[in-house]
Each structure stands twice: as structure tokens, then as C-alpha cells.
Symmetry: C2
Subunit: 417 residues, 2 copies
């Protein structure tokens, strides 16, 4: 008998028909002999409706009261899903975040889980119930209702799976799993059977929207096996786990991209101590996320460096840099928008030194110029012009053998079911 | 400085405009130098919408899950009202039932308050906040979310007023206060300035819908001064308190009626011990509320008795009685529907023996026959034919001096503001 956490997003329970399908699915899984804990998000448009109502009364409401309002969405979902399970002849008990023992700090709107005390969940399971838990919410030590911020329900599911020592945490979503790249760009994009936490983390951070990075970090930290799968089909999903199997000779798992990148360069910067700290400290203080940073060598005591930000932040970033000119004397700034970042991700890259070079040559052979490069142990990112993105992604997908049907991944346990 | 509990019903906060008006009203009361605790119900149609959603998924859902669902309505109200108060420059903190320390038994759907631990309310008040509390809900010792059933928000307000030792509990509603009778029947019906708990209890039980009987009982038990007033006007309301002042020589406070009454008579019942217990025990077991019971004297070892039930319960009641015929042998049953009950209520009646006689003669002088009578220390009820109701109420209203403008009640504290 296994203990399984099943997480359903808002679109999976957005209509009565979908709610019923989810309830059926849960009971099937239970009838296979498993104990089931369900984590569910707010239904379809509930959250947006609540936000609309609040904006009409206070465009800038206290975050404490927003949390009080927003947590209602999941509470509706858990009650209705439990009722639906009963209607189908099953037994279920719903639990709000605080009832499920989800303890958080008190940062309203983006609280962090500090502890989980799941005794009521176990009690419900022992009595033969499906335990249906509200995602996205918790309670602070002072008894304040909090929300976990973006990706919160994924995080609830993974954290709860760790706390109850679940055998697997299944994330049900509206796609079949994690793909080798975006199927809207590459027709031959293939669903992956397995992927490692680190690879998933890179893909999640790079814009593959199926799993929130925070949830993946949590899963890696507590070694929770994840399966991403569709709530609309019975297809096998993608297993995310430490020791994801990869075929011999294949080093790249997938190709991710970020479509809205701007480059900013600061030229002729006086090479005095604390220069980088001053520049990037000021950007961080202004809420601007910096991604790739490249510094070229120092010449005549002066350096050039470049970095990327989201295209939306370009103008603000330049203003911030002008604001610190007295601390960081420099000659001039230049910038460029309409750029994209393409990344290859694969745990095998660390032991295959030629992988990055293969990427550069594939891109060059298309006549596309690479503007910036950044590498880590398991990924290599290149910044290029936006209008050449699709062509480059398709070419890389082929170059790394990702669209050959021969390349079938070796299956893990999830394939034997 | 006073501590005031203000309770607003669902229709008072049903639109953004009304929500803003309520928030303004609360801040006005605070700016007069008072500490304010607000109790609020679910907005307008929220409750009905939630019920509709649930019925589509499970026509007969577990009461535990219904409580989980229904409590969402008040949680939305408290969050939005607090935001609105902030938008108007005030400070407010919202509290769910469990956060406000409302402890109940575990009878889902109609829980009873067992204790209140309002420490968080006091803390919020000390910091200058309006404390906004969700009505209708509480938490059991096991941490289950419960609802108080019908009239629940009134009860929350009164119980909270008792727990925090409020100077007054103001019930805001869509009428100006408690009237001497239904203004739709008697044009000259007048708003009462004061009324005693017992009188209010009789009026509330008899169908004056402004205050739930349970809340009045609570107020009487804990001696909480109530004021019923309109949320739409600044008019003085009606004070409900122990020592309500009444003018010299006036003994009847108001006239109430119940429009849907049926009489059932059981004739020729064998006078054996336990007869009444068997009949009324069986009716109670079948969920039939019995109101007036009249037994005539025993003759030849046989008795006749009559009782009233809601018109909707007539047929079922007769069935139940036939079901116990083996235990309670009787000759026959007769019944009559399309009846009404008219009652005069007044604390002065106990020391004025002629009051009931005056009622009988006023009704008789209209050529109306009285079918049943029931009296208590502070009321006298007569059952008559439904088609003569309005005429009788108007006549009684005049006979007891309730529609003369001269009869101005002596004012209490609420009138001096």
C-alpha cells in the first residue's frame, strides 16, 4: 500500500464535469489500494473574481486582508471536491491550510512554510478518508492566515508529501508532462519520461511553466519523487527524481528559452573595489532581477561589463545605473532589447566538455550571432536576436538528437504501471 | 469611551456602495470615541450561490463539508469590509470565527457556542483597529469549522458583546427597528423606542423577523443591551433591554401574528397514562413543531384535545397520529387549515388581569370566532380564520392605544444621542 499525494490545479476543477472527473480519478487511485492525500487550488476564475471585487473597494489593500480573501478560493474547492467524492460513494474530509498543520512565517502574500504538523491528515486517512487539503495557504505562529505566493499549491503538495513521507507526489496539470522543448515551437518536441531535480529546476526557471521552481527545490531538498501528468488523459507523465535515467550518449535533456530579454552594457568603468556590489545592489533594491552577468578583462584600469534583465525592466535599469554614477564612474551605457535566451539543459553536460561548443557551432551555422553566453554545470545559455529564436531551437533540438524517435528513454518505475 | 458591537446583515453589505456606506458608518462611530467590534454576515447572494454550486455536485452533502463551504461567505465579507475601512483611512483587522475565539460544540450546521476567548479582538482594539469578525461561524474543540445555523450572525454579535463586555450591541438591518405590528397590515404601526427581552422574545418567536429568538435569549441571559436600527438611515432604533420603560396605563407593547396555522383535534381519547407523551413524542420525532396545545376536561374516561402546527405539517401530523393509534386509542381526528394566530405581547399584562378579556371582546365585536386560546404571563394568543386577520390586527392595534400619536414612549439612553 502506497501513500500518494495528488495535486490538481485550478483548471482541473474549473467546471462541475471536471470536478467529477477529478473525484473519479482520486477514487480509482484509492481503490488500487493507496492512501490518498489531495491538494487542490482555487477553481478556474475564483481568484480573479475575488481580486476584482477587492480592487473595486481598495486598489491597494493590506496584504493581511488579501490573504484572508484569497484563501477562500481553495476553501471552496476542498469543500466541493469532498462533496463530489461523497456523491460518488467515497469518503473524504477537507482541511484548510491551518487544519492540515501548514505552518508558515508571517510574510503575507508570499509566506514560507516553516513546519508541517499533519496529525489530522493521518487521522483522516486511518478512517478511510481521502484527505483533501487546500493548497497555497497556511497559518503563522500568531494564528494569522497566510498565502504562499506564486506556485503555492505545487509547494503545498510537495511539502505535504515530504511531511507525510508519501511514496510519490503526482502533479496533475493540463499538459502530458515535461517536454524536451515547447511543442508550439518544435513539432517533434517529445514528452520526457524522466528528468532530474536539477534539470527540472533549470527548465522551470527558464520558463517551462508546468512546475514552480520553488516546489522543485523543495522536492530536491526532501527527496520527494514527483510525477507531472495530465488530469485529462491517462497517459504516463514525467517523473522528476534524483537519479533520472538517461540513455547512453545523450547529454541534453531539453531546450528552454526566455523570450523577453534585454542586454545592458556599462563601458569604461573605473576598476575600484565594490563596483559590482554598488551596481547590482542598487538594481536589486529597485526590484530588478539580473540574469546573466559578463565582465570582460580590465584594460588601462577600466572594465566593460554587460548583463541581462527582463525587457520590461530595461529603461528602469538604465535610470538606476545613472543614479549610482557618482559611486561608479563610467564612460557610457549601451543597451539592446528584442533579445531571447536559449538554453540547453542536461545533467550529462558536466562530464561532456564538447556540449557547449556543439551549441555554439549549431547556432553559428545558421548565421546567427551569439551576443552573450552563460554556463553552469548542467546548462548552457546563449543570448541571440529574438527573430531567430524558432529556427535556433529547432536546429538545437535536432542537433542534440531530441527529435529522433529512436531516442527512447530508459523507463523508471512510472513506466511499469 | 464605550465598547460597541455593530452587526450588519448580508443585505447591508450586498453591493460595493453599501459596503462603503457601512464602512463610513463604522468609522463615524469610532471617531465618536468608541472601540468598535463589527460582526458581518455573508454578502447578499453569496450563500445562495455557494448552495447552488454544491447541489449540482451533491444534492445531499455531508454537513461538515457544507460548513466548510458556507463559512467562506462571511470570510469574504470580513476581508472586503476591512479593506474598505482601510481605503477610507481607517484601521481594521478581520477575524474568522476561530480566530475570534468562537468555540462551539461539533453539531455541524447548527452548532451552539460553548465559550468565547476574545484575546485577539482586544489586542486588535488596543492597536486602534476596528475588529471585523465573521458571523455565523465557530470552531469545535477538535478544530472543526462549524456554523451556528439560522440567525447565527445575530447570535455571534450578542455572544461576542457579552464576552467583551460591550456597552451595547447594535443590530443593523433593513428596517428602522421593532414595530408595534407589521406596517404592511396596519398603516399606523409605530416603531417602538424600547422593548424588554421577554417581549422581544415573544415577538421574535411570533414572526417579527428583525432579530433571531436565539440571539434575544442570549442577550437576556447575559444582559446585553441590544439596539435594532436601520443601516440605511440615521434614525434611532429600538432598544431591547431588561428594564424597558412603558408609559403609565399602557400594557400591550405590540401585536404579532403567524399566518400559516392548522388545528388538529383528537376526539374521544382513552384517558390512560402517557397519552400526551406518546402523541407529542411521535410528532417531535418526525420533526413537527407543535405550538398551542389545549386539552378539555375528561368525560366518561375519554378526553378531547387540540393542537396547532404549521399549515405545511398538517397532513404529516395526521399520519403520525394514525401511526400511534394502537398506543393511544381514540375515536377520530378532525383538522382545519387556513387559520392564523394573533397575539398581543406586553410585560404589563401580568399585573393587569383584564387585558386578555379586552382582546376577546375586541375580536368578538367584529363577529370573528375564536377557535383556540393560549396565554402566558406576557402574551395572549388567539387562533382565528385567516381571512379575518387584517381586520382583527387593526382593531386590536387601536383598542390597545397603539396607533394614537399621543402614546410616546419614555426615552432611554439611545434617544438622547
Amino acid at each position: 500500500m502506497s501513500l500518494i499525494v495528488m495535486k490538481f490545479g485550478g483548471s482541473s476543477v474549473g467546471t462541475p464535469e471536471r470536478m467529477q472527473r477529478v473525484a473519479k480519478r482520486i477514487l480509482e487511485r484509492q481503490q488500487e489500494g493507496n492512501d490518498i492525500v489531495v491538494v487542490v487550488s482555487a477553481m478556474g476564475d475564483t481568484t480573479d473574481d475575488l481580486i476584482d471585487q477587492s480592487k473595486g473597494l481598495n486598489p491597494n489593500p493590506p496584504t493581511r486582508e488579501m490573504d484572508m480573501l484569497m484563501t477562500v478560493g481553495e476553501q471552496i474547492s476542498i469543500a466541493l471536491l469532498s462533496m463530489t467524492i461523497h456523491q460518488l460513494g467515497g469518503k473524504a474530509m477537507s482541511f484548510t491550510g491551518w487544519q492540515a498543520g501548514m505552518k508558515t512565517d508571517e510574510v503575507h502574500g508570499k509566506a514560507k512554510i516553516t513546519d508541517i504538523e499533519p496529525s489530522r491528515i493521518f487521522k483522516a486517512l486511518e478512517a478511510g478518508n481521502v484527505a483533501v487539503v487546500a493548497g497555497f495557504q497556511g497559518m503563522s505562529e500568531e494564528g494569522e492566515i497566510t498565502t504562499l505566493g506564486r506556485g503555492g499549491s505545487d509547494t503545498t503538495a510537495v511539502a505535504l508529501a515530504a511531511a507525510v513521507k508519501a511514496d510519490v507526489c503526482e502533479i496533475y496539470t493540463d499538459v502530458d508532462g515535461v517536454y524536451s522543448t515547447d511543442p508550439r515551437v518544435v513539432k517533434n518536441a517529445r514528452k520526457l519520461n524522466e528528468i532530474s531535480y536539477d534539470e527540472m529546476l533549470e527548465l522551470a526557471n527558464l520558463g517551462a511553466a508546468v512546475l514552480h521552481p520553488r516546489a522543485v527545490e523543495y522536492a530536491k531538498h526532501y527527496n520527494v519523487k514527483l510525477v507531472v501528468r495530465s488530469s485529462f488523459t491517462q497517459n504516463e507523465g514525467t517523473s522528476v527524481k534524483e537519479d533520472a535515467v538517461m540513455e547512453q550518449g545523450v547529454v541534453v535533456r531539453g531546450i528552454a528559452f526566455d523570450k523577453n530579454v534585454a542586454r545592458i552594457s556599462i563601458m569604461g568603468v573605473e576598476d575600484v573595489p565594490g563596483v559590482l556590489a554598488n551596481v547590482f545592489g542598487a538594481l536589486a533594491k529597485n526590484g530588478i532581477d539580473v540574469d546573466i552577468i559578463v565582465q570582460s578583462g580590465v584594460q588601462d584600469g577600466k572594465a566593460d561589463f554587460s548583463f541581462t534583465v527582463s525587457g520590461d525592466d530595461r529603461e528602469k535599469a538604465i535610470e538606476v545605473i545613472e543614479g549610482v554614477r557618482s559611486l561608479v564612474p563610467y564612460r557610457e551605457t549601451t543597451s539592446e532589447s528584442s533579445l531571447v535566451k536559449v538554453s540547453i539543459v542536461g545533467a550529462g553536460m558536466v562530464s561532456n566538455p564538447g556540449v557547449a561548443a556543439q551549441m555554439f557551432s549549431a547556432i553559428s551555422s545558421l548565421g546567427v550571432s551569439i551576443k552573450m553566453v552563460s554556463t553552469s554545470e548542467i546548462k548552457c545559455s546563449c543570448v541571440i536576436a529574438a527573430d531567430q529564436l524558432n529556427e535556433v531551437v529547432r536546429s538545437l533540438h535536432t542537433a542534440y538528437g531530441l527529435d529522433t524517435t529512436e531516442q527512447v528513454f530508459v523507463g523508471g518505475p512510472s513506466e511499469r504501471r
